[in-house]
Symmetry: C2
Subunit: 206 residues, 2 copies
């Protein structure tokens, strides 16, 4: 089964201690049971208490791992990966091409299992307003990150309006693709992103 947040422990901190390993395991376990219950009962009909019971922890412990019920679904670790991929892009690419490649390259590294998890998450998130709101909120964070690294790349200040418009556009396209993908889960997400960015490069002509 898929890990989501546990990776933040596995990759981030020194992986040596028993304590860290246990935490990563617990976190992944809670997410697994939460996703299963959401699938079976629906998001709103599932209580934190139920999740805690299924994962064999106390509700207190649940909230130590995830500060909200939403967090158990939405927290992910994609930003650092995106940033890294972006900074790997050759400098002769246009900013748009660089972002596009960075996003797609991240997806190409995913296992079928990870892709399937991503799909299920996207479906759930887009179906539940609270989750959608929280995810959209995360996208703003991504947008700010993108503004900063993009500012470095093109040699402008991070409060440049063109730059920020650019970041807004990237996020906006992401939102529309996430929504589209939720309605058409049989399509290939990374291909959709690719197509959407093509439209952009063509100058957004209708």
């Amino acid at each position: 089964m898929i890990l989501l947040n546990s990776q933040q422990y596995i990759k981030g901190k020194r992986n040596t201690g028993l304590r860290e390993r246990k935490k990563a395991k617990t976190m992944a376990n809670v997410q697994m049971h939460a996703m299963r219950l959401f699938r079976e009962l629906g998001y709103n009909a599932t209580t934190v208490e139920q999740i805690a019971e299924a994962a064999e922890i106390s509700p207190s412990t649940f909230f130590r791992y995830f500060s909200t019920k939403e967090d158990v679904v939405i927290t992910d670790n994609y930003d650092p990966l995106l940033i890294a991929a972006f900074e790997d892009q050759p400098s002769d690419l246009s900013p748009l091409q660089a972002v596009r490649n960075a996003m797609i390259s991240g997806m190409d590294d995913m296992s079928p299992d990870e892709l399937e998890t991503m799909r299920e998450r996207n479906q759930l998130i887009m179906a539940v307003p609270e989750l959608r709101g929280a995810t959209l909120n995360n996208l703003i964070q991504t947008m700010q990150l993108l503004t900063e690294i993009m500012a470095k790349r093109v040699g402008r200040k991070p409060d440049d309006l063109a730059l920020r418009t650019f970041a807004g556009v990237v996020v906006g396209v992401n939102i529309s693709v996430m929504l589209y993908y939720a309605e058409n889960p049989d399509k290939d997400f990374s291909k959709l992103i690719d197509e959407a960015f093509s439209k952009l490069e063509d100058g957004l002509l209708l």
Copy 2:
């Protein structure tokens, strides 16, 4: 003081009955007190109970007017206005120009009082994650509306990816401008929108 949602009653329904007038008045009154309390105490530190008491209604009644605490801030009635303004745009304009004009024309009709309220709301919303999430969620609805009327205008189906990408871009630009405006409240919001769309028309080149 400014009305926000009350307009939906004043403008939308027949304005004749005492009942309607009272509801509009109550709604505006609740919002006024809520905004004041949020300003004085902060959003999270203000309870619905306090708002209800200030507005001299029961908590039950609060939730009849606003289904969540967030709603008291975020609910607005801009969509119908935007749609109407959009449909008023001459058909020889490009889609991008039409959207741009529609958005700006809406703002130009606002009184100074309304603009000031909009600014305060934007500041509050962008500062409070829950509100930001809920607002972003509303933007998705706007995006879907935009997709539909745009589909009519250019004669495509609403599930056309180019169309949806376009709508995503418009929403993304809005998000980035809202954020920018929250950081720079002394600027002119409608001018910021105008500038951001200019960058778009220039082909998003950095």
